[in-house]
């Protein structure tokens, strides 16, 4: 466990710098935007020049960029992300409200893509070059080429509009008084399509990685040695080939978390899922700069956190990790 602890410590120190770069970079980018939150606010409310001045002043938008950056960073230290312009509420609350939905969506999509993807990858990679291997390989490549938002639309056309098996969007039935398992089932039925749209593409990715990793592992000497020791094919495939091929997948799990968060922006928009991704889009549309900053920051923290978990998982799965730096 000391290996894992050392890893966490090192990661956390690095993360502080990374987050600082993220905050400053995003802040400067959003500063460069024409039009600010007041402009966006005025669209929905109307108002004259005097009132715009007043709003700019009360929202602190008339201060210099540097002052505002400093203020923002200072507030961040107190876990204060500021006030959302469009929601007139603390950004932290707005984000925390949306975060669970996105986490459920991402978690389910990851479980689907990683679980099914690696299982199919093992199935394909167990017999390299066989028909099923080639079929799954090409099939997954085709799946990987599908844009998520389009897959979402196609799924809606087929399953929600055509067959009417599943709800068309949202996260749960409107204001239903369902509780407990009933409610969970309801949410689950709403999640089927978005999770599929988001997950199937990454499923293809994991399948392909697993398959490639296994093809690589088959060429390793230790697999030849395992064959020489007369182990059953099943044992060789599962305990040696797949086990070793699993490692890069775990790494990919971390790398993909950022991509999946990005993908959920579009998927949440297609399926009207009230998550972080949709919030980001709303923030962009409403030019709610502090909110967008907050979302990007929270996403970054989330990605760092997921990567930390993945690193720990990797360290547990691969005894070689950090071996040379144990105790460092």
């Amino acid at each position: 466990m000391t290996r894992a602890l050392a890893l966490i410590r090192r990661r956390l120190v690095g993360s502080v710098f990374v987050l600082l770069i993220v905050v400053i970079g995003t802040f400067l980018l959003l500063e460069a935007a024409p039009g600010d939150a007041v402009d966006a606010y005025i669209v929905s409310t109307g108002g004259d020049a005097g009132m715009i001045e007043l709003l700019r002043h009360s929202w602190g938008l008339d201060q210099s960029e540097l002052t505002r950056l400093a203020n923002y960073l200072w507030a961040l230290l107190h876990l204060d992300l500021g006030q959302s312009v469009t929601f007139s509420r603390p950004i932290r609350d707005v984000i925390l409200e949306r975060l669970p939905t996105t986490l459920i969506l991402m978690g389910s999509a990851t479980a689907l893509s990683f679980g099914l993807g690696s299982a199919l990858g093992i199935y394909a990679g167990a017999r390299p070059g066989s028909f099923r291997d080639r079929f799954l390989s090409i099939g997954s490549l085709a799946l990987y080429a599908v844009p998520g938002f389009w897959l979402g639309l196609v799924l809606i056309v087929i399953f929600a509009v055509g067959l009417r098996w599943l709800p068309i969007g949202g996260i749960e039935s409107i204001a239903s008084a369902r509780t407990g398992l009933d409610r969970a089932a309801d949410i689950a039925s709403h999640l089927v399509l978005p999770v599929s749209a988001l997950g199937f593409i990454y499923l293809a990715l994991y399948l392909r990685m697993m398959r490639a990793g296994m093809a690589e592992a088959w060429r390793q000497d230790f697999v030849l040695a395992a064959r020489a020791r007369g182990l059953s094919r099943r044992r060789i495939v599962l305990a040696h080939v797949a086990r070793n091929a699993l490692l890069p997948l775990v790494t990919m799990l971390g790398l993909q978390s950022a991509q999946m968060l990005g993908g959920s922006v579009v998927i949440e928009s297609v399926f009207a899922v009230p998550g972080l991704g949709r919030l980001a889009q709303e923030a962009v549309a409403a030019r709610d700069t502090p909110l967008l900053l907050g979302i990007i920051l929270v996403s970054a923290v989330l990605v760092i956190f997921i990567n930390l978990l993945v690193d720990i998982a990797y360290a547990l799965l691969d005894p070689r990790v950090g071996a040379s730096e144990a105790g460092a």
């Binding site: 390793q220 000497d221 230790f222 030849l224 040695a225 395992a226 064959r227 020489a228 020791r229 007369g230 182990l231 059953s232 044992r235 305990a239 040696h240 086990r243 070793n244 490692l247 799965l317 691969d318 005894p319 070689r320 071996a323």
Partner: protein, 337 residues
């Protein structure tokens, strides 16, 4: 003497980028039960291909012609007595050096007669099976499959690079235990207990810790000891060591060679020792077969090959050897003109 296996007209061809490359050409040789046979040759001589062919480990793309006939006795019933790697089988022909160019009668029966007749053959209970590209896939179905030469159970194989031939993410104890689990039908706890005994046998320091160590935590020599433990775990008749010491340091090499020698003698195993080092081969083996460009150049008793080689190539190999007693080359060079 009793032949353990007999190789006849073995030709192995690899497909490579459209063309075909013959790695072995018309090899015929017998390996006697209990003998220590070294195969020597330089790179590209086909010596490793022979090892893989005997173990049934050739890649699927390799084309194999000819025959390898095995003469195995049925393994003792499971659990009937102590595991074979601890209690050595009796090897009647040990110490004998009798190169046989005559095919034994069994191989003729095995090759020419329906497999079903085997049980009434002179060597009752023995059987033959042809191995090419995967021993267990090709076991004749008509006869008791338990008798087929099976990697791990009947053949132990030690590879050149111990770092590559052990699974990097599995504790070494488990890699040994899974051989015992597979071939001896032991439960996992017994398999681990036996694995620990094996680690002791290959003289790994602190076997209790080593049982749970990962390969990267061991030195090269220790890893090779683990690989040997896994190879002999199920008590194979034949131990193939394919350049098993050439990735190791001189001192470690000597230790591993000593270990192999001891284990082979204790368990009465047959040893097929593949090496490029003629001196090493001569120290360990009773017989030496010299390979060159995929052909068997000559085969004979180690002493005879070293002191009275029949073939010019063997002589040149001997001449090129620089032993501790070799004259300094500079002097030779100065003397030669």
């Amino acid at each position: 003497m009793t032949a353990l296996l007999s190789i006849r007209d073995l030709t192995v061809t690899y497909r490579r980028d459209g063309g075909e490359v013959a790695a072995l050409k018309d090899i015929s040789l017998d390996i006697a039960a209990g003998e220590r046979l070294a195969i020597i040759g330089e790179s590209g001589s086909g010596k490793s291909t022979l090892a893989l062919a005997v173990a049934g480990l050739l890649p699927a793309s390799a084309r194999v012609d000819g025959r390898i006939d095995w003469f195995l006795r049925p393994p003792p019933p499971l659990g009937a007595k102590a595991p074979p790697s601890v209690l050595p089988d009796i090897s009647p022909s040990r110490g004998e050096i009798a190169p046989s160019s005559r095919p034994s009668p069994i191989s003729r029966i095995a090759g020419g007669e329906p497999a079903a007749k085997l049980p009434i053959s002179p060597l009752e209970g023995e059987m033959s099976g042809r191995t090419e590209g995967g021993a267990k896939d090709r076991r004749p179905s008509a006869i008791a499959t338990d008798y087929g030469p099976l990697g791990g159970r009947d053949i132990g194989f030690v590879f050149q690079d111990p770092s590559a031939s052990l699974d990097p993410v599995m504790p070494v104890g488990k890699q040994i235990a899974e051989v015992l689990y597979t071939h001896l039908g032991l439960g996992w706890p017994q398999a681990f207990a036996k694995a620990r005994t094996l680690l002791e046998r290959v003289r790994l320091p602190d076997p209790d810790t080593a049982l749970h160590a990962f390969p990267h935590q061991l030195s090269g020599g220790q890893k090779q000891r683990v690989a040997i433990a896994a190879a002999i775990a199920a008590g194979p008749k034949l131990l193939i060591a394919d350049e098993a010491t050439s990735a190791l340091d001189t001192i470690v090499q000597a230790e591993i060679v000593a270990l192999i020698r001891q284990l082979v003698s204790e368990d009465g195993m047959t040893l097929l020792f593949i090496s490029h080092d003629i001196a090493l081969a001569a120290e360990l083996a009773e017989r030496i077969a010299v390979f060159r460009h995929g052909r068997l150049v000559e085969i004979g008793a180690a002493r005879q090959i070293i002191s009275a080689p029949r073939h010019a190539y063997t002589r040149s190999l001997l001449d090129a050897h620089l032993g501790l007693d070799a004259e300094p080359l500079s002097r030779q060079a100065e003397a030669s003109p």
